[in-house]
């Protein structure tokens, strides 16, 4: 009996000490990590639509939900546009893109925030040379040239290009639907919410 207890207790002791230590470290780093996450997102949004305040909108669509932010000028509170993140599977990873559009749903800018595509090929999607191509496009132009759209695909990385482009187009459609639905529901004088 003593033997069992001894082993159990020793392991218990180590676990307790280790856990306590971790819990403590966690208590310190957790807020920091959370803050970094938020800050990152904010920075990204800020970069896409400068000088704006963002307001989060969550919409339930069936089982899932989409989240987007409505951007208003910090000073004038004027509606500047929307930002959102879109994701789709590319060549070898999930490609996550943050995008901003103006109130007419034209792309203001995009930023690929998460991807693990092939370095030198798909991974080039984070380059500004690539992201610049999206500026000013309307949702129906958001298509790879091979599919009849306006986006010229990166050399050797059509799949990644498609992932970015198509995810944006689809997400815009969802956001647009929601925004338009909301607008339609609003009384006329509040056209600019």
């Amino acid at each position: 009996m003593k033997f069992y207890l001894k082993l159990g207790l020793i392991l218990l002791a180590f676990c307790i000490v280790a856990t306590a230590l971790l819990a403590y470290v966690n208590s310190i780093t957790k807020p920091k990590i959370a803050a970094i996450k938020i800050k990152e997102a904010e920075l990204a949004r800020e970069e896409l639509i400068p000088n704006s305040a963002f307001e989060e909108v969550t919409v339930k669509t069936g089982k899932d939900s989409i989240v987007y932010y409505v951007a208003r000028d910090k000073a004038t509170k004027e509606l500047k546009g929307y930002t959102f993140t879109a994701a789709k599977i590319g060549y070898s990873s999930n490609v996550k893109t943050m995008a901003a559009m103006d109130k007419d749903f034209r792309i203001l800018g995009i930023k690929v925030v998460e991807q693990a595509e092939t370095p030198g090929l798909g991974a080039n999607c984070t380059d500004s040379t690539f992201t610049k191509k999206f500026r000013g496009l309307t949702p129906d132009q958001l298509m790879v040239d091979k599919d009849g759209g306006k986006i010229q695909s990166m050399t050797g990385a059509t799949i990644t290009t498609r992932a970015v482009t198509n995810s944006l187009r689809e997400q815009i459609a969802l956001v647009k639907k929601d925004v338009e639905a909301k607008l339609a529901a609003l009384p006329a004088q509040e056209v600019t919410p």
Binding site: K6, I10, F14, A18, L22, T29, I33, T118, P119, L121
Partner: protein, 196 residues
């Protein structure tokens, strides 16, 4: 004197990567760039040093039957600390090392040194061993990463080395390139040893 010896043996003579051939997974996965390599090396070294010290301290109170679980808990604790700290303070590096930070726990080098060395030696020597092995690991990682980054991206630690016209050999950054680079390095080391 022995301390110095323990400290330096991990660099060349008992290099954990090239000679003992342990901890291959992080070596290959994180040597795509010199920055990653150094980050991984530092993280592993930290864990290695801490766990070596800790284990040489507790070696006498752990019964044999639960030795491995106890060591593993100790190591896991340090790894988790590194993980959280890195997420909080060097988020970019944390992101690019990804899954491989928690996997330091099972990095064969760490448990290997715990069992092979710290388990049997005093704290001071274990410290030296930890530092030495960690440095050796970091060194090896950096060497591998140097080749891979230069070939695959034309840069070294982010600095452009190859001319702009260089069309990088992407494979160096991919899985096969990792294996082949390390394999070629090992063969070269064997060749040099043979010559001697």
């Amino acid at each position: 004197m022995s301390f110095m010896k323990e400290l330096t043996k991990g660099l060349i003579k008992e290099n954990p990567t090239f000679v003992i051939v342990l901890g291959m997974c992080p070596t290959l996965a994180t040597s795509t760039s010199v920055n990653n390599a150094i980050g991984m090396g530092m993280a592993a070294t930290f864990v290695l040093v801490c766990s070596n010290i800790m284990i040489s301290l507790i070696k006498n109170v752990t019964p044999d039957k639960i030795r491995i679980p106890v060591y593993v808990v100790v190591i896991a604790a340090f790894v988790s600390i590194v993980d959280m700290m890195m997420a909080a303070y060097v988020p970019d590096l944390h992101k690019s090392l990804g899954l491989f930070i928690p996997l330091i726990v099972v990095n064969c080098i760490i448990l290997g040194r715990a069992e092979a060395y710290a388990n049997k030696n005093n704290v001071l020597n274990s410290l030296a061993d930890g530092i030495g092995m960690g440095a050796g690991f970091t060194l090896a990682l950096t060497v591998v990463a140097t080749f891979r980054e230069i070939l695959g991206n034309g840069t070294w630690a982010g600095l452009r080395i190859m001319p702009q016209t260089y069309d990088p050999m992407l494979m160096a950054l991919l899985a096969p390139g990792a294996f082949i680079t390390l394999g070629t390095l090992m063969a070269t080391i064997n060749l040099l040893k043979e010559k001697k």
